[in-house]
């Protein structure tokens, strides 16, 4: 997977360029995990392929908020509106089975530049925006969760400065907001203790801020002394993530060195918290092309995706992945090799 950068006067873009074949499923999952928008390219002559459906499914599994189906090579089908509409309706049928948030269709000829940057003169029947115009204007500001305050504690800042009375007792909880908005004066709950306190100040090196929201990196100061360390979570009293040791998740397996099987022992890293987990059960393996669920499957191999039940040695503070990608996503690590062997998306926690 390669990252590429470009900018227009309106926006800057990072392209995560991932190959499309099934043996690169893990690359696609990785690229999609941070994407705001995915573009799936379809050849107008060939129509929807198995891999178009697979890509659409992965986009939805990873909750990429925006999807564009770009129907390319329209020049080779005489810029036929009928052909475009046919592909569009076929895809819309398929997408109705998926949890697609926002879907757009653009007919293109990349070779001739039709509808890439400016509107095509050869397709007067198409009244939508060019691809670039869509990319520049798609509304992504609402994609972040600004409702559910989530602050995974990353690092405790204690300057230990005896020469400065203000810094002598300074104890700041540094981290990046994974959701919601926090303000000085807000009542907050600390997990795992369940103790409540109030935010006294929100600090950055550039001064105090009146409110902090995702994805700001800030330092929280609390009114009460609570024993808080890395891996803990600060949230609002009436809106906390689930503190759970039993988690069900969709897992994409990313190694060919071993398989995921029931009773596999692994390390989980979820936000800033690391724990050991055991695979309790493989509920089913999903065929990423047909969406068929194989409930008799007894393992996941490289690039396979399945629904898994995990039991962790200590509670994780999780949300459903559909609600928050940061607090709903985790990686699995092989304890012996230290390799990242899996990626998980929380479906539910008990």
């Amino acid at each position: 997977m390669a990252y590429r950068y470009f900018a227009t006067p309106k926006r800057t873009f990072i392209i995560a360029d991932t190959p499309g074949h099934i043996q690169y499923t893990r690359n696609m999952v990785t690229g999609a995990s941070t994407a705001d928008l995915a573009i799936i390219l379809v050849d107008a002559r060939k129509g929807l392929q198995e891999q178009s459906r697979r890509h659409a499914f992965l986009t939805c599994l990873l909750q990429v908020p925006h999807l564009v189906l770009a129907v390319n090579k329209m020049d080779l089908v005489d810029y036929s509106q009928e052909r475009f509409e046919q592909i569009k309706s076929e895809f819309a049928d398929f997408a109705s089975k998926l949890d697609v948030c926002d879907l757009a269709f653009v007919p293109l000829s990349a070779l001739h530049g039709d509808n890439v940057v400016s509107r095509s003169e050869d397709m007067p029947w198409y009244s939508g925006p060019s691809l670039l115009h869509h990319l520049e204007n798609v509304h992504i500001a609402s994609d972040r969760n600004l409702i559910d305050a989530r602050f995974p504690v990353q690092y405790v800042i204690r300057p230990h400065r005896s020469d400065d009375p203000e810094l002598h007792d300074y104890r700041g909880y540094a981290g990046q907001l994974a959701g919601g908005v926090l303000k000085p004066g807000d009542e907050v709950t600390h997990l795992p203790s369940g103790l409540n306190s109030r935010i006294s100040r929100i600090m950055t090196a550039d001064g105090e801020v009146a409110e902090a929201y995702s994805p700001m990196s800030v330092t929280l100061l609390l009114e009460d002394e609570i024993d808080i360390s890395r891996g803990d979570m600060i949230c609002r009293p009436n809106n906390a993530p689930k503190a759970s040791q039993d988690i069900e998740a969709m897992v994409c397996w990313m190694t060919d060195a071993r398989k995921l099987t029931p009773r596999s022992k692994l390390i989980v890293k979820h936000t800033t918290r690391t724990a050991k987990v055991m695979v309790k059960d493989l509920r089913y393996r999903l065929d990423v092309n047909t969406l068929h669920r194989d409930e008799d499957a007894d393992h996941l191999a490289l690039n396979e995706i399945g629904r898994v039940r995990l039991r962790s040695t200590q509670p994780l503070f999780v949300d459903e992945y559909a609600k928050n990608r940061q607090t709903g996503g985790f990686i699995l690590i092989d304890e012996a090799t230290n390799a990242t062997v899996g990626a998980g998306m929380v479906v539910k926690a008990d």
Binding site: A2, Y3, R4, Y5, F6, A7, T8, P9, R11, T12, F13, I14, I15, D17, N27, V29, T30, S33, T34, D36, G113, V116, V117, L135, A141, R144, L146, Q154, Y155, I157, R158, P159, R161, L167, G172, A174, G175, Q176, V181, M203, T204, A205, D206, Y213, P215, M216, S217, R230, M254, I267, T272, R325, Q326, G329, I331, I333, N338, A339, T340, A343
Partner: protein
């Protein structure tokens, strides 16, 4: 996608620089929390200056909880060393110098000799030895993915084995912002917190934060000579032949490094604004050629190559690369090449480095830059 710096962000929206800063701070805190002995590579160059500022911000009001290390070729610009020492003192961090000269004196490496001599390749050995000697398990570098094509696939956390080697097949997938920091004894990780920044972002951040830079980044009059289209500083440590005449020119440097192979560009940019305008102007021109995508991207990669070439010593260059290097006189563009990029396959064929069989590595052998894919 970030908000543009040109648009005022709305409520609950951060500017692009703020998003990048928050990400870099997150990465630095993650390393400080999970590694025992991190170190920040600090050359006195613009990227490492940004990194040191980010480190100060990440742990403020606490001190930066790791030392900085300069891999010193001994072929330095005086202005840069003066700046390095002053900035390190101001930040209150410990400076570790990994000296290539000491390695040469101790007979651990052999210094290349002759007209094309450069110590670039010796930097890696000095770096690895210092990492081992000090037991560093994570080293922050200021490399960016937009710098050159070979870096586009690099991870933020780049795993090195006990020989300090980077194996492209053995890199870890990076999902969301969950980074796997686990290593065994003797191994280390290079961490690139500003991976997602472009050259323009770096300059914009320097301006916004009012960061001081070594004076050689700004236009000044210097005695230089031309070698293969590259303007090199007149210095006792560079052997000139009789055809290479020295003349005075108004130049600035876009990177700092080994004086023997870091090329200057003609420029009248004396203020940060001028430099940013130069970069932004080039970017606009490139973007204007949206229809000639192929040509534009080749030109952009040539510029990128040229930039690498101007720093990679001539010993590693070939006529094709030297031709590419002549485009260096254009105003500075990041090889960030802000344009649509048709994809890796096509480029690799067109890329002069790949097309030209006899060419070895033209890029600078820089210790905090991983080997090309």
């Amino acid at each position: 996608m970030g908000q543009s710096s040109q648009q005022a962000p709305g409520r609950y929206q951060l500017s692009q620089l703020d998003v990048l800063e928050a990400e870099a701070i997150f990465i630095m805190r993650e390393v400080a929390a999970e590694f025992e002995r991190p170190v920040l590579l600090f050359s006195g160059g613009k990227d490492s200056i940004v990194m040191l500022r980010l480190a100060e911000k990440a742990f403020w009001p606490g001190a930066v909880p790791f030392p900085v290390m300069h891999v010193d070729t001994g072929h330095n610009f005086d202005e840069v060393i003066e700046f390095r020492d002053r900035r390190v003192a101001e930040a209150g961090v410990r400076l570790v110098v990994a000296s290539v000269q000491e390695q040469i004196d101790a007979g651990k490496v052999t210094e290349p000799t002759g007209r094309w001599a450069s110590r670039n390749r010796l930097q890696t050995a000095a770096l690895l030895e210092a990492i081992e000697e000090h037991g560093f398990d994570a080293a922050f570098g200021g490399a960016r993915r937009d710098e050159e094509k070979a870096r586009a696939k690099e991870r933020v956390f780049s795993f090195r084995d006990e020989f300090g080697q980077w194996d492209p097949k053995n890199q870890r997938p990076e999902l969301w912002s969950v980074f796997n920091t686990r290593i065994d004894r003797g191994e280390h990780i290079r961490v690139f917190p500003i991976s997602n920044w472009t050259e323009l972002d770096v300059w914009s951040y320097i301006e916004r934060e009012r960061l001081e830079l070594p004076s050689i980044y700004f236009a000044h009059e210097r005695r230089v000579f031309e070698r293969d289209g590259i303007l090199l500083a007149d210095s006792p440590i560079i052997q000139r032949d009789e055809t290479e005449t020295v003349f005075a020119e108004t130049v600035r440097y876009r990177t700092v490094g080994d004086l023997t192979c870091t090329g200057a560009v003609k420029s009248t940019a004396v203020e940060l604004d001028d430099i940013i305008a130069e970069i932004a102007a080039t970017r606009l021109t490139e973007r204007g050629q949206t229809r000639a995508d192929d040509r534009a991207s080749e030109a952009a990669w040539r510029t990128a190559s040229a930039r690498a070439t101007s720093r990679a010593c001539a010993a590693n260059t070939c006529p094709a690369a030297r031709r590419a290097a002549s485009t260096e006189h254009a105003p500075a563009t990041g090889p960030s090449s802000h344009h649509f990029d048709p994809g890796p396959g096509k480029h690799e064929q067109r890329h002069p480095a790949v097309r030209h069989g006899g060419l070895r590595r033209r890029r600078q052998e820089h210790p905090d830059r991983p080997t090309a894919v």
